[in-house]
């Protein structure tokens, strides 16, 4: 109890908690869950964009998309490393993902149907991710905060790239502009859902806020995102698919229409358009790599034995 009090004092003083410091078991559990889910999201998030690497419409776009997907893999790796500092091995996190017990961001269960989806993901999904992640750069747990600083820097680059794809389409032919609008129509609402359930319905928020893992409420972050995105859409000449969207002069914020939380719960529960495909693909990749991992281990063991001899 005294340790816990001391821990809370340190958190209040904005000190960073490091792996060898004392931390309450629930804090450790919460962080392990959140960081590993975040890592899983990066890894699964490679799939919808990876779907367009072979079909990217120019070499420049192809290189940028491949680099982006590679960055996501890198983010996954930093985040697994940050989660491992909590005393759980990466294999365990991977096993949770493959068995379907662990969650990942529900947005990656939507399919990428056209090239414009690549632009919309960069602009909206990475944009929403950044809103969520910037406060995490000041999270009380040191390794997570440091990983997020690096991730946020790359994400904002991705977000600008995605916006630029949308801009090119919006200023292109009528077909291209229609493709951009269609992608916006499909990705807008799922992006708003990325901030999680409305305040009051969120199950993990209270303690997370107390522990300075979470610094803003879901609704606050969502509001920031909408405020930032509405003028961007206007600039693109595209229409947000929300007839109820309006600027509220009293609050100074944009107010959006009702979100279909039923859809959100369904996708989280495994019923999104691509949940089954995403996990199946991840499992296949993992299984088809088994013989390679075994070979690498066998070779390393033999090398070690040779050196010892």
């Amino acid at each position: 109890a005294e340790q816990t009090a001391r821990f809370l004092e340190r958190v209040d003083a904005e000190e960073r908690i490091e792996p060898n410091d004392f931390m309450p078991a629930a804090y450790r559990r919460t962080l392990a869950r959140q960081i590993s889910q975040h890592a899983h999201s990066e890894i699964i998030g490679m799939q919808p964009e990876g779907n367009w690497i072979t079909r990217a419409p120019s070499l420049r776009r192809k290189a940028a998309l491949l680099a982006k997907v590679q960055d996501e893999c890198g983010h996954g790796l930093y985040l697994y490393a940050a989660a491992e500092t909590l005393g759980i091995a990466r294999e365990e996190f991977v096993e949770q993902l493959l068995s379907g017990r662990a969650k990942y961001s529900s947005i990656f269960n939507y399919p990428t149907m056209t090239w414009a989806d690549i632009g919309a993901i960069g602009w909206l999904v990475d944009g929403a991710a950044i809103m969520n992640q910037i406060p995490l750069c000041r999270c009380s747990y040191g390794p997570y905060a440091r990983a997020m600083i690096r991730v946020c820097k790359e994400e904002s680059f991705h977000q600008r790239q995605g916006y630029e794809i949308m801009m090119t389409l919006a200023r292109g032919s009528a077909e291209q502009k229609a493709m951009a609008q269609d992608a916006l129509n499909r990705w807008w609402w799922p992006s708003l859902m990325m901030f999680g359930p409305p305040d009051g319905q969120s199950t993990h928020s209270d303690m997370s806020t107390r522990w300075k893992i979470k610094r803003f409420s879901n609704d606050d972050l969502r509001r920031k995102f909408v405020d930032a995105t509405v003028p961007q859409a206007t600039y693109l000449g595209l229409t947000l698919p929300d007839p109820d969207l309006r600027f509220d002069p009293e609050t100074g914020h944009w107010a959006h229409g009702a979100i279909d939380w039923e859809e959100f719960r369904n996708v989280i529960a495994g019923n999104g358009p691509c949940n089954a495909d995403r996990l199946a693909r991840r499992r296949e990749t993992h299984e088809s790599g088994a013989w390679v991992r075994e070979a690498a281990a066998a070779h390393a063991a033999r090398q070690k034995a040779r050196r010892a001899a």
Binding site: P57, L59, A63, A67, G74, G76, T168, H299
Partner: protein
């Protein structure tokens, strides 16, 4: 996943090299084309790539053996090309050589790990070598018209690299406990646009959007 990163790095280096070369080619051609015109709007028969590099990924052994056999050739080739009388080409080569040296080291390490790994990985590595070796001789042929360029000191003679390639491959396969294939038939034709059936579906995906929306900017 670490290996995903490394493969993506190689892919990015190779796309970067292709873009630099296409851009330079388009400048020399001076017909208003750009890199994408050359990559996206040519038909299969106009592609003069090595057959080796159009072979399918197959399993991880086949991917790695393919990259290794290619890197063991292209790395010294880039090194020679740094001496090109064409300054742009020499500069492209200087950058590419650093990248290909890494590709060679990385793929060689994997060939050794797989060959000297488990019985299954050895079997797969051996099968990959048997499958891909017939496509290696083509690398040393002088492509049509390149003799003129070579005479002007613009490009090296690939035939001069045969010995160094063989030494590299022989050394790595030896450490991988894999045999270097001796003799055997060698395929050719890629330089003249005579491709295997693996290239067509790759081009269909590559070019689909450009072909579907002619003249659009992306």
């Amino acid at each position: 996943m670490e290996e995903d990163m490394a493969l993506a790095n190689m892919g990015l280096d190779l796309i970067g090299q292709a873009r630099a070369l296409y851009t330079h080619a388009a400048e020399i051609e001076d017909a208003g084309h750009d890199e994408d015109q050359l990559a996206y709007l040519r038909d299969e028969r106009a592609y003069g790539n090595l057959l080796l590099v159009e072979q399918p990924n197959g399993d991880f052994a086949q991917t790695m053996v393919r990259q290794f056999l290619y890197a063991a050739f292209i790395d010294p080739y880039w090194r020679l090309l740094t001496g090109s009388a064409d300054a742009t080409l020499a500069a492209i080569a200087a950058k590419a050589e650093k990248e290909s040296a890494y590709h060679l080291r990385h793929s060689a390490e994997w060939v050794i790990r797989l060959g000297d790994g488990t019985a299954e990985s050895h079997r797969r590595a051996r099968a990959a070598i048997a499958r891909l070796f017939p496509y290696t001789n083509e690398m040393f042929d002088v492509p049509a018209d390149e003799d003129v360029l070579a005479a002007e000191g613009l490009v090296p003679d690939p035939a001069a690299l045969r010995a160094v390639w063989r030494d590299t491959v022989s050394d790595v396969l030896g450490r991988a406990t894999l045999a270097l294939p001796e003799g055997g038939w060698m395929q050719s034709g890629g330089r003249d646009g005579r491709h295997s059936e693996h290239l067509g579906p790759l081009l269909a995906e590559l070019q689909f959007l450009q072909r579907s929306f002619p003249g659009a900017t992306w």
